[in-house]
Symmetry: C2
């Protein structure tokens, strides 16, 4: 996506250690135009996947996943990291080691919202190490639902997540791919 | 909003102590149709407010606020409850006592995303005690920006938040208003 790549180069900041600051348009302030364009583009790329549901992880996955679910005309489920008091029944739980927080993160989805006949598209803002997306894919597996694809807004290819997710055997689409952030650089594919 | 009220009566569960479970369509699984209809309706009600930005609090405010910002064609800013490593510069901070968590919640917005010339619409999924919305309004004040209105999807009127927010002097719009949840009831206005 050309506009997305333009914004990454114009506003993105390389904070070192692979950390990309894009909080002026992706994950604190959100450019609604851009995020809905991204959602439409992910929906177009997965138009034939027959998704019945989009799943993401709170917090920063919600916006791009909602835009994608809107374009696909299906519900969105966002996995919770802490159990809200309204989450009372059976729950699927997975653990993702968090690179940025330095500790494990729980991901929980109420069992009633992931069913064996669901065809699930995973959407997140970033594909980095793939740990969060991998945990979301395991949640889909726990529900005996079918994973149909993985879509992300920005991929940091140099972190190797794409390789770690290859065994899932589904298409992986990222709208902007960064191949190198060493020495203060931001290099797009 | 008739469809919203219908869903609350059909799927909402009164868990006691004023806690309403609507996680099948509002805040875990999201009915994208319904949430975008809600966003369009809030945008319509605030069409003349001249909002330049929508602000909400993570987590469950993000979906309705994004739908509203999309309909108003303005950016969304969601206040963070924990400081992400990408939040490096000056920050506006407020504290909201959390009714459901029993402890205080910090709300942080990077100063660069709230400016004195911004006209800000606060959107959240719930208006209950008004503590979160009040903290968001104080963030707008810290930035010397102008608060133009408050929009929520579901109001629990019996918790008194509307009265506590009246001093702000801006229109408060809720798309569904619950007047009574005593004795297991869910009573709509």
């Amino acid at each position: 996506m050309e506009e997305l790549e333009r914004r990454i180069m114009a506003e993105g900041k390389n904070l070192g250690r692979g950390i990309l600051k894009v909080d002026s348009f992706i994950n604190h302030q959100i450019d609604t135009h851009l995020i809905f364009d991204a959602g439409r583009e992910l929906a177009r790329r997965f138009a034939d996947a027959g998704a019945t549901k989009v799943i993401t992880a709170e917090i920063s996955g919600i916006a791009p996943a909602l835009a994608t679910a809107h374009a696909l005309n299906v519900p969105l489920v966002y996995a919770r990291k802490t159990r809200p008091i309204t989450m009372a029944g059976a729950v699927f739980v997975e653990v993702a080691p968090s690179h940025t927080k330095g500790s494990d993160v729980f991901l929980m989805v109420a069992a009633e919202f992931l069913k064996p006949d669901d065809r699930v598209l995973v959407v997140d803002d970033f594909l980095a190490s793939g740990a969060t997306i991998s945990a979301l894919a395991r949640l889909v597996e726990h529900a005996s639902a079918t994973l149909v694809g993985i879509g992300t807004v920005i991929e940091k290819r140099f972190e190797g997540g794409r390789d770690d997710l290859a065994h899932l055997g589904v298409p992986i689409v990222s709208l902007a791919i960064i191949t190198d952030m060493s020495a203060g650089k931001i290099v797009l594919e």
